[in-house]
Symmetry: C2
């Protein structure tokens, strides 16, 4: 069977998830670049508190202004099938892409990220971070 | 301070990570649509086997043909800072986006996905799945 190749491209600076739309200043994303996905899962101390969840989500939205973020998704568990391998116990997630390790480091050290941690870390009891690089 | 809004858009059918380029048949992604991120982490039975990792990655690449996948990233742990919250113990990850729960269900039941599980599940000892919906 003949292998079909269909390349796609991104015309704009970044892909922005529907929930995050304020104060963006994202740099252009290169075509077919291997990206670093940074996915963070948060477990709230009070998982039943809607107020705490809203505070956390508001804090996460402030991160969108960090210029090395290429794509940002702020999410909550989706109501997919309950299966033993699916972990839907977290309260919120943040998924972003960076061009490289340096972009991720800039994000980690960025004052907006530091302010988010200072303002919101009292809300969560557990965080898991996965950093994956495209292969 | 005035809130600035800068919307971005996607000109093409889908964003495709650099590592996956064969046989795509992805449908158009809607602008500003709330997506479902499906992120799966695999822990190999033989984490030091380069051959097993390559087999798993090759299997993951076959998933790109499933038409409801909007964006696909196949990755391995990035060499970001070692921190207590960072889990870099997995062998490979698959990150994809769907338009909705139905798109994810179609993917789960798809013969290509089922073949991937049949061909590759003997390679891994643990899988964790996170499904997050944009808010």
């Amino acid at each position: 069977m003949k292998k079909q190749t269909r390349r796609t491209f991104i015309a704009s600076a970044a892909v922005l998830s529907a929930g995050v739309a304020s104060g963006m200043s994202l740099a252009p994303m290169e075509k077919n670049k291997k990206l670093l996905a940074h996915h963070v899962f948060f477990w709230l101390k009070n998982p039943s508190s809607k107020e705490d969840l809203e505070k956390l989500l508001a804090g996460l939205r402030t991160l969108a202004k960090i210029e090395t973020i290429r794509e940002l998704h702020i999410g909550v568990p989706a109501s997919t099938e309950v299966r033993p391998v699916v972990d839907n116990s977290y309260s919120a997630s943040e998924l972003m892409f960076f061009d490289d390790l340096e972009g991720q480091k800039t994000y980690q050290d960025h004052p907006i990220h530091q302010k988010f941690i200072a303002d919101c870390s009292h809300l969560w009891e557990k965080v898991i971070v996965y950093d994956a690089i495209d292969v």
